[in-house]
Symmetry: C2
Subunit: 232 residues, 2 copies
Amino acid sequence: MTTASRTARERVRAELIREITDIARRHLSTDGAAGLSLRAVAREMGMVSSAIYRYFPTKDDLLTALIIDAYNAVGAAVEQADAGCARDDFLGRWLAMCQAIRAWALAHPHEYALIHGTPVPGYQAPADTVDPAARDGIMFAKVLSDAHAAGAIQVPADTPAPEEFAGDAAALREAIFVGLPDEVILRGIHAWTWVYGSVSFELFGMYNSVVTAPAATFEHGARSIAHYLGLR
Amino acid sequence: MTTASRTARERVRAELIREITDIARRHLSTDGAAGLSLRAVAREMGMVSSAIYRYFPTKDDLLTALIIDAYNAVGAAVEQADAGCARDDFLGRWLAMCQAIRAWALAHPHEYALIHGTPVPGYQAPADTVDPAARDGIMFAKVLSDAHAAGAIQVPADTPAPEEFAGDAAALREAIFVGLPDEVILRGIHAWTWVYGSVSFELFGMYNSVVTAPAATFEHGARSIAHYLGLR
DNA sequence: GAAGAGTCAAGAGCAGTGCTCTCGTTTTTT
DNA sequence: AAAAAACGAGAGCACTGCTCTTGACTCTTC
């Protein structure tokens, strides 16, 4: 079935789904995930509450759509940040990606919370979320791979990777961390963990009355962690 | 008013509050924060739903009590872990504290989520939470201070602390990071951020299908981050 | 082009929630 | 002993996610 031959019903359905997610995302960005109500969305669309269940049979389904959107948004932000850097400026690419994530999170706190906060109890991420969820990490791994291939990574030797990690490392090396030694893959995961930990701390108020210059603090972190990664 | 002169009503009130929080914590640990219902707790106590509002005028008040408990529990776990180490084994103390946090989080995932997940929208942490919330960080800062005083920290020189951080550093140095140079304080914050980021990633499923040996991965992270801190 | 199948909005309804208000009773204070 | 405060119970309000049924509409198939 081509786009041209889509039936009228299918077209209005797609349009309605788009409108629902748009309204829902607006509600999300003002009231947070817990304040999102299918009835309120339906009300704003001039629908009766039960009608919305034709399009999203469950609140979780709506949330899933928003989660996928959020993952894609941060993934796109990271990719765009990376694209704006010289290919051989590995430290610059790493910093730009970190900043992009933080900037996106600060601009969309509730959407960030949706994907990096407490999982909604009972909510199990469906399969269609895993690809969008991996976009940012893939870009990050690419920077490390590129840097290593260019000889710009000095593999740290102070804390050898545990052998329990060998299997994971092999799988990751084949998929995204191409060519990297275990120790760098492991540190890459830790670095990635730090990025999101730092953004979460800032966004969720853990830095209140401790860090008053979060931007500078974050950049220092990103720089020092790059050094931790062996990026020179 | 001494304990002996407490009126009967006050004693039964304290007991009821204790019982309510106990039941609430049990519900929390099985259903999560969003599944916690004042009515369900009241029901389990044989109370009518409105009666519970005499003790916790709002759901947020109950949550606050649970949050304080959770902070104190993880704080106590960290303190106990630290106490079990030789005073001059700074790396050991750091590792023990990291492991204690992870172990507590794995044992009490929903309580961990309560204090390190998405803040409940509209919920503003009251003043009585900040002291319990600081316990773990204080212990961690103490290890760094002790290590530095004993000459066991080799201050990293690759990424100088930004001057925007000087004010925060001065305040922190006076309060908890006693005697430490800015660069170490800053890295201490980043290290602390990594710890909770790592535990959150593992607990919230971000490591799914990436890291299959979380314990070994976590320990490697703690060790390598200790090196990042300059702990020798 | 008409019949049948599928899709839709609407409405009523169920079980649950946080929270409020009132009312009669009990306990504490004065 | 009287006044004040605290309490449990019950009814009720506004809201939620979700289900079921009904009648109208649209698309497909013969």
